[in-house]
Symmetry: C3
Subunit: 126 residues, 3 copies
């Protein structure tokens, strides 16, 4: 995995502008994960939901023999801009130093009314 | 293609939490498909539009020698939460038993005012 | 890279319905690019922001030894439907004749209040 942050593009504090994956990798596509416990009910607040999202991502990565350091791209959907700060705080705690390619979008809503955040990911391992 | 649904993550009724693709697959990226007929005009209602979306997806997959069972990830955009039920009904009829990784987001709008649903897909075949 | 535009699906004026990538390609995942200069501040208006977005994409592609002709999929987020026309005008100037798979969504907002457009891309080269 090779990081591309060309000097003509503004600095990216928590992500990489480009991530290159060589041929012959295994790929893992992860569905949008939400802040729901094993009973499927949404947890209370953006920080608890984000923590659950990253625990889910970690479990799905582990199931494929991967970890956060193998994530290539992360796409985050939040339902309100006021949730960005809480999301970023918990993401930094969970993801550590790894900086995948990333996109963050504020959507109108997610599939269930109580869901505040949804994160999908793509990972690859040679 | 290998499915990952770890036991610590809530059950996913109509999708898989993770889909793993081995090296050496051919990949097909499909543009967001909308419920427009060959004249480009939107069909009437969410069920007719969703049926057209999946007919388009099927035709594009077939052009690459693939089918729904090769889809790895599906991303759905709807313009209102009240459309989820109609979308899911038709998707289940069209997709059958195959459960790709999936994300569903309610957007503000799509590229044309009459479009209620847009679905993009990624497929892979060894 | 192989283009799939089956005759049963409406014509796609500025994109391809499906793009197929053979095995053994290098892949490049590019984060959502915004219309911010090197100081990170948003440029004025949709045309200036879109031009910056495509200059960023070009620089990141070049860093991996790629160019617009290697892009497989482009996803565009705009914060209002009135921005579509200005975005399309500049995209056509920047992208030239290459037609990747594409999705365009109108989102509620992007990560920063001044950002009008965000474009992420996936590219591949054998």
């Amino acid at each position: 995995m090779k990081i591309h942050n060309p000097p003509t593009v503004h600095t990216a504090p928590t992500y990489s502008h480009g991530i290159e994956v060589p041929p012959n990798a295994r790929w893992l596509y992860i569905s949008g994960q939400v802040g729901a416990g094993r009973d499927g009910k949404p947890l209370e607040g953006i920080e608890a939901q984000t923590k659950q999202v990253f625990e889910n991502l970690k479990a799905i990565l582990a199931s494929a023999g991967m970890s956060f350091t193998d994530t290539v791209k992360v796409t985050t959907y939040l339902i309100h801009e006021d949730l960005i700060e809480g999301f970023r705080k918990v993401r930094a705690e969970q993801m550590g130093d790894h900086r995948p390619a990333a996109t963050l979008v504020i959507a109108r809503r997610l599939a269930q009314p109580g869901w505040l955040v949804e994160v999908e990911a793509i990972a690859a391992k040679a």
